[in-house]
């Protein structure tokens, strides 16, 4: 049986791992290659590395991190942050990444999804969707939460699938860093409406939160950063809880 995936996420800034709350107040969380190797050894099913500076100056630092991580670990990993061109994707895949995630650039240029899918295959193209709870439902935000769109998260996810996305990385900005649980209504709504895997992100605080997002919201994978980086909860403890709840795990 296909297992539900647990994905630690490393936000990378200037070659270091950092973690904030609702995308702000960043704290240092260590060396990305050491962290990635440790997670790989401790049962992570996949990793995600996000370049959160994504300025031209720091781009080459991030590619170096990707290359070093690829040499060190034997599990798949996705990279993202500021990706807007085929050339960038080529460079990151050549450095050893398995998938790339696009976010703001796909919102301003949805054709990018199809272009990347044609060039590299759907399995390689993850669309990251950041959404915020509003009085009008879950609305897509861009540029690390600093800009709001008029898109409903579910509609945008369906459009991404039609254009060739192979996976949706769905983050609740409202829940990010709060450790109050995943946004089950958001994840459930998107997971029921697309035929591609959905990775839930934002709000993980306890092992039970993972059980809930798999059992109640039908996520295919769950991503977390802070609770793993700062040692509050280990991957093994999360997986033990999942097994007790009858969720297939590796």
């Amino acid at each position: 049986m296909l297992t539900k995936r647990i994905i630690p996420c490393l936000d990378i800034k200037n070659g270091r791992t950092v973690k904030g709350v609702q995308f702000k107040n960043l704290q240092d969380a260590g060396d990305p290659v050491e962290l990635a190797s440790a997670y790989s050894a401790k049962g992570a099913d996949e990793l995600t590395l996000l370049d959160i500076t994504a300025t031209l100056d720091n781009r080459s630092t991030f590619v170096d991190v990707v290359r070093d991580v690829a040499r060190s670990i034997s599990i798949p990993f996705t990279v993202g942050g500021g990706i807007s061109s085929i050339a960038q994707v080529e460079q990151l895949l050549a450095a050893g990444a398995d998938k790339v995630s696009v976010n703001s650039a796909a919102i301003s240029n949805p054709d990018l999804i199809a272009q990347l899918a044609r060039q590299f295959g759907n399995q390689c193209v993850v669309v990251a969707i950041d959404a915020k709870r509003t009085s009008k439902g879950w609305i897509v935000v861009s540029h690390a939460g600093t800009a709001t769109t008029t898109l409903q998260a579910v509609d945008w996810a369906k459009q991404c699938e039609e254009r060739g996305a192979g996976e949706i990385l769905l983050t609740s900005l409202t829940s990010d860093g709060t450790r109050s649980g995943f946004a089950l209504d958001l994840v459930g709504d998107v997971a029921r409406n697309v035929g591609i895997p959905v990775v839930a992100s934002g709000g993980a605080g306890t092992p039970q939160h993972f059980v809930d997002v798999f059992n109640l919201a039908k996520a295919d994978a769950a991503l977390a950063a802070g609770i793993f980086h700062f040692g509050n909860v280990t991957i093994q403890v999360v997986k033990d809880e999942m097994r007790r709840a009858g969720i297939p795990t590796r």
Partner: protein, 193 residues
């Protein structure tokens, strides 16, 4: 021992090379028949579309090399699928080395089949020292049905071929280079055949 990784513009050759280096070996990544002919082991990776991959392989006469190669060959993912006769992906005639036809998943579950799934095998050959039901990492939308060449089975609503072997040809649908310790053991087994 010289290990060749066949490069034809549709494979994640860097990942395979990284995995081989982690095992303490080295390999050459090449699309040159003359270079690859001299290798002792050939790895045939593949990510992408069957029709485009076959066109690229043929344009470099790598199809002839693959059919005539007499030492162990390991096809990975699309590389395994191309060892068959035909693929429904782009209605493509493939290498015809092992008699199977590749089909598209028509399951109610999500496609691509992406993630870690349990593989049933007999812990022999390339699966030596790997417990049956170990998990391997898969990413694919097309599959090889069960046949006489199947040496390992996986289940995604329907049972399908996780690995094949016939003569000196081996193929795995999953990515051993991305499958943690079990995948590393499988590559080690292949390299020491």
């Amino acid at each position: 021992m010289t290990i060749g990784i066949l490069s034809y513009g549709a494979g994640n050759t860097a990942s395979v090379l990284n995995a081989i280096k982690r095992l303490g070996y080295n390999a050459i990544i090449s699309s040159q028949v003359a270079e690859l002919e001299k290798t002792d082991k050939l790895i045939f990776p593949g990510v992408g579309h069957a029709a485009q991959a076959m066109a690229s392989i043929k344009s470099q006469q790598l199809d002839i090399l693959l059919r005539s190669y007499s030492r162990p060959v390991l096809g990975i993912c699309l590389g395994m699928q191309l060892l068959g006769r035909y693929s429904a992906e782009g209605s493509t005639t493939t290498l015809g080395i092992i008699p199977f036809d590749v089909k598209h998943f028509s399951v109610q579950l999500k496609v691509p089949h992406m993630g870690w799934n349990a593989v049933e095998h007999t812990s022999t050959g390339i699966f030596k020292q790997i417990p049956s039901s170990s998990h391997f990492y898969f990413v694919h939308s097309y599959y090889v049905p069960q046949s006489n060449a199947s040496i390992a089975i996986c289940n995604y609503q329907i049972p399908f071929t996780a690995a094949v072997a016939e003569g000196n040809y081996y193929g795995v649908q999953f990515h051993p280079e991305k499958s943690g310790d079990a995948g590393a053991q499988l590559l080690q087994n292949f390299l020491t055949l």
